[in-house]
């Protein structure tokens, strides 16, 4: 089982109740990680993270400080020790 460190910001942090946590998953991609968190933390988490299609993410997601759009997207593989961040879109200035 891979242990993935997850860091959360703003409303997603409030839904989960923690800023940082560790998730254990097997043979995972980013999609698998987020999906397992959605099962654990419920519909509020799911609708905060996935858009209406249920397949695309609303959030900025990074793996080891790289945004997943520039890796393999939701199919980006994860291994033991990776750090994933889930952040709401940046707006304002």
């Amino acid at each position: 089982m891979a242990k993935i460190r997850v860091a959360l910001a703003e409303e997603i942090r409030e839904i989960v109740g923690q800023k940082e946590l560790e998730m254990e998953i097997e043979n995972a991609t980013v999609f698998d990680l987020v999906e397992s968190m959605a099962k654990k933390y419920g519909e509020r988490f799911r609708s905060a993270v996935f858009d209406e299609s249920g397949k695309r993410l609303r959030m900025i997601v990074t793996k080891n400080n790289q945004e997943i759009e520039f890796l393999q997207g939701l199919d980006t593989p994860l291994k033991d020790g990776d750090k994933v961040m889930l952040l709401p879109p940046i707006a304002g200035g």
Binding site: E10, R13, E69, P89, A91, G92, G93
Partner: protein, 713 residues
Amino acid sequence: MPCFGYVSRSADHCHRTRVEEDIYLVNVGLQASSQRIALVKDGLSFSKRLLDELSSSRDATVQACARLIGSGQSEPSVEYDPMRNPRGGYVGKILLIDLGAEKMSAEDLDLEVARKYIGGAGYAARVLYDSIDASTDPLGPENVIIFMAGPMVGTGFPGTTKWTICAKSPLTHIWGESSASGSFGAELKRAGFDGIAVSGSSPSPVMIRVSDGDAELRDATGFWGMETLATAKAIQKELDDPNTRVACIGPAGERLVRYASVVTDEERVCGRTGMGTVMGSKNLKAIAVRGTEGVPIADERTFASICDKARRAVKPPNAPSYTSDRVSGLTAHGTARSVESLEMMGGLPTRNWRQGRFPEATKITGSTMSKTILKGRGMCPHCGIIACWRKVKVEGGKYAPVEGHGPEYETCASLGSLCLNSSLESIAKANDICNRLGIDTISTGATIAFAMECYEKGILTSADLGGIPLSWGNDEAIVKVVELIGRREGVGRLLGEGVRFVASTMGEEAERLAAHVKGLEVPMHEPRRWWTMSLAYATSNRGACHLQGTPVYLEWGLIQPEFGYATKLPPFKQEQTAQATRFHQDFSAAFTSMGHCQFTIGGVIPFNMVAEGYSSATGEKVDHWGLLRKGERIWNMKRAFNIKMGTTAREDTLPPRLLEEPLREGPAADRLSPLNSLLQEYYAIRGWRDGKPSREKLLELDMEDIAFSLWAE
């Protein structure tokens, strides 16, 4: 009745067709005609009669009319009254005031300048280029300060609330410009003017009152010394009209703090570049505007339909999630929402730019504000989309009472993380002081952070600071120093000069710590993390500026497929950075001159829809590429202004820390922006030679007069 439209061409062609030329001639001729007054009074139904009367003339206008009518090239779908409103959107008048001579006059808006430079800051840039030169003292009577509202302001198109103030900046000695939202701009137009240009200086404090086409100078001695919001209330009471909109300065502007702001009765702020200082130098305390006229619209039916379409486009199910999430996030938690995300991405300016991460960022973020001191939300008139206003109240604790507009992202960072301050209540207090005394929160926070590092390193001592222990994170000291800056007392006398001047009095080590470009303190987007902002800061016409071009939006995913930016820009990649920065600068120059708020533009309302709105409001048909072209012209106009003030490519750079010292953690760790090569690419893309717009580029942009002026031998 014959109807005339203005046919646009693509961005690649700035010349007019024969039809466009004829339409233009008709408009100019009708304007000059002595029949004008009759038309203004009698309205549209007399247009045909006028043309019949003119048909017997040998005037070139009539010949142009005959060609149009005979050729059937007029556009029946676009209808407007060419006499009263040669274009919709504009009201057609500029108020000129010489405070020294106590003279006022109303002049016609220069239609050719408006066609080329849109309005707002674009129009002001062209006017100020002729009025000001390198020897003009920004605090002298020769400086001209212009208050402008662009053609979309007051039309009702969603998000068109931005009005602007322009002058030679007393902080930077180059292009000064600052915008605010709220009702003031629309009210100015309802009062009968697209803008007010003020020269000279009054021997005693005055205010300008504008009301339905009339204007007067009034004694403002009784308001001198008052804080901004108190001034606005007092003026509304004196005029016996709570609906009068007021823009005024506080003690900071009166005492010539170099980054004094202008604040409205709605607590909206023209913060940057010291426009309040220029007002103070002229003894101009306030401008009060009240109007009852509507802003004309060329094609009201089409315009209303486009406005409705724009409102629906930003909400589910029509909006992509990156649009609707941005909108809902701003509504829920304001601009400060992004403090935490930016920190976790390693890009929150911290400890005078020594760090990009601030472990206590959660304490000063938007959602924390929502749970603690937030008491309400609000929006600008005609926004209808975002509602980003924060209304806060601090009722207990050492910073009470505070009640008013809450801190934005820039303030939470500049008076927060940049100073290692995690006390949200102190930031709210400091923000409140800045607004009431009238100083820019970004320059204030940046100058205090600089002073903190100087104190740490012994360059500034406790005695220099009047006994204030200005150590990192000392929130009480921050609040105290903000007050002193705003009142220009104690150490505020020095710090109120801005970071460039303060550092210059302290030696080379201090100058290396001062974060500014061309004298304007760097705003709160980390250029080592976002390379587009490194180039934007280095080349922006105001100095380090995050608004006149915010290309980082493209790195954040606020994509603009209508301009070919269909995917997010990858970070830390040199390719595309220069072109993206150039694009966003031209784009920003266009929409800010029109009067749009950036939160409704750029990944929110598609710009091709905005162009439809502009076309139906003004009667000038132009697509989004055509508007971008005008924005490019405006950008080059402001650059030409700066060159006239003495700016060279040498000043297109970053402060030493941001140029030479990489961050130590986060995605940007051990990386630096390749600024020099980005600049070379940028100049080439812009058609500039050694940082100066080439003669060929200026001619291509239909700026022959500027080409002649800049390249005269």
